[in-house]
């Protein structure tokens, strides 16, 4: 923090007494101050006064501070724009609407499929001579739901 003086003076020492008490002096300077204070009654007196002052000022305790601020801080940070971001909310709303649309479409397809299956079962019951209930008699291809094939079922008007 400081350079060593050419000629050590009381002024030089006194300017550094506070830093010494605060433990902020380089070890070299500290040794010089210690030696000087031991041999200089005036500087020693000041040193003693500063130590007494440190004890005196420690009597100011401040106010009792035992309280938990987290609930109040949490409440406030939840009100921060980023935590209630309108664009974030609108994104979520769009996503939900999209999901609802998908679910409605799937429900419609399920309804069509259910009716097709019912019709097939009815035909099967009426024509026990069909080779396999799971293949088209004309093509031999597996049965596909009309909803996924893009065709409309001839059985449903």
């Amino acid at each position: 923090m400081s350079t060593l003086p050419q000629d050590l003076t009381c002024t030089w020492v006194r300017e550094r007494l506070t830093a010494w008490l605060d433990g902020e002096l380089p070890p070299n300077d500290e040794a010089i101050l210690r030696q000087h204070v031991q041999n200089c009654p005036d500087c020693d007196h000041l040193y003693q006064e500063l130590m007494a002052l440190a004890e005196l000022t420690a009597t100011w305790q401040g106010q009792s501070t035992e309280q938990d601020l987290w609930p109040r801080v949490y409440e406030r940070i939840c009100q921060e724009p980023e935590m209630t971001n309108p664009s974030h909310e609108s994104e979520m709303l769009t996503l939900l609407q999209s999901l609802l649309g998908e679910m409605t479409a799937m429900r419609g397809e399920m309804s069509v499929l259910r009716r097709e299956v019912s019709e097939l079962r009815r035909q099967l019951a009426a024509s026990p001579s069909l080779a396999s209930p799971y293949s088209r008699s004309a093509t031999g291809q597996p049965l596909l739901p009309y909803a996924s094939s893009g065709e409309s079922s001839p059985l449903i008007s």
Partner: protein, 192 residues
């Protein structure tokens, strides 16, 4: 990162990284870790006004939360918090200047019993508080941060944005002023 940092500083950095990702649990740990020392410091900065102190500390944490995404972890969260708090308290003090002065308190006189017997800690505490209150703002800040919060000259220099040498000289001047102001309490002599 990490070299030269103490364990609690490393933990602070980790918590701040989580807070940057809006992790309120991590941020809650930071609040509970620092609320007591900050409240104590704020009560001194604001001359024992506990309501204002609590408001200032809350605001400090709110600003930390807002700054978390851009906060650069380097083990100095404590100093960072004190810096926010000090600036808030300084502004609050400017708005509401306190009027207590040392002269408002009964002076210690030679007619009193010896200091060892007569020393009323509350009166003494008030006298210290007022003497500190009357220091110039720069000296007062350095004195409070060093004497009561135990911050090093380097940390205070970072908080107040000034050279370490300035911190040292302000502390020296503050002690000189307090020594004169509180002389009667130290020696039992009359105030004047």
């Amino acid at each position: 990162m990490g070299e030269g940092l103490q364990q609690h500083e490393v933990e602070d950095d980790a918590l701040m990284r989580r807070a940057a990702n809006r992790d309120t649990v991590a941020f809650g740990q930071i609040v509970r870790r620092y609320q007591s020392p900050l409240l104590r410091a704020a009560s001194r900065f604001l001359v024992n006004d506990t309501d204002m102190a609590a408001d200032a500390v809350q605001e400090t944490f709110l600003r930390l939360w807002q700054a978390a995404p851009t906060y650069s972890p380097q083990g100095n969260l404590r100093a960072y918090l004190y810096r926010i708090l000090y600036n808030l308290c300084r502004d609050a003090r400017r708005r509401e200047r306190t009027t207590d002065r040392l002269e408002d308190f009964p002076p210690f006189t030679s007619a009193s019993p010896t200091p060892e017997i007569a020393l009323d800690r509350r009166l003494l505490s008030d006298a210290v508080r007022c003497a500190v209150e009357e220091l110039p703002e720069g000296q007062r800040a350095v004195f409070l941060l060093n004497q009561y919060e135990g911050l090093s000259y380097r940390a205070i220099a970072a908080i107040l944005d000034c050279p370490e040498g300035t911190v040292a000289s302000r502390k020296h001047l503050a002690l000189e002023a307090l020594r004169h102001r509180l002389q009667p309490w130290m020696t039992g002599e009359d105030n004047k």
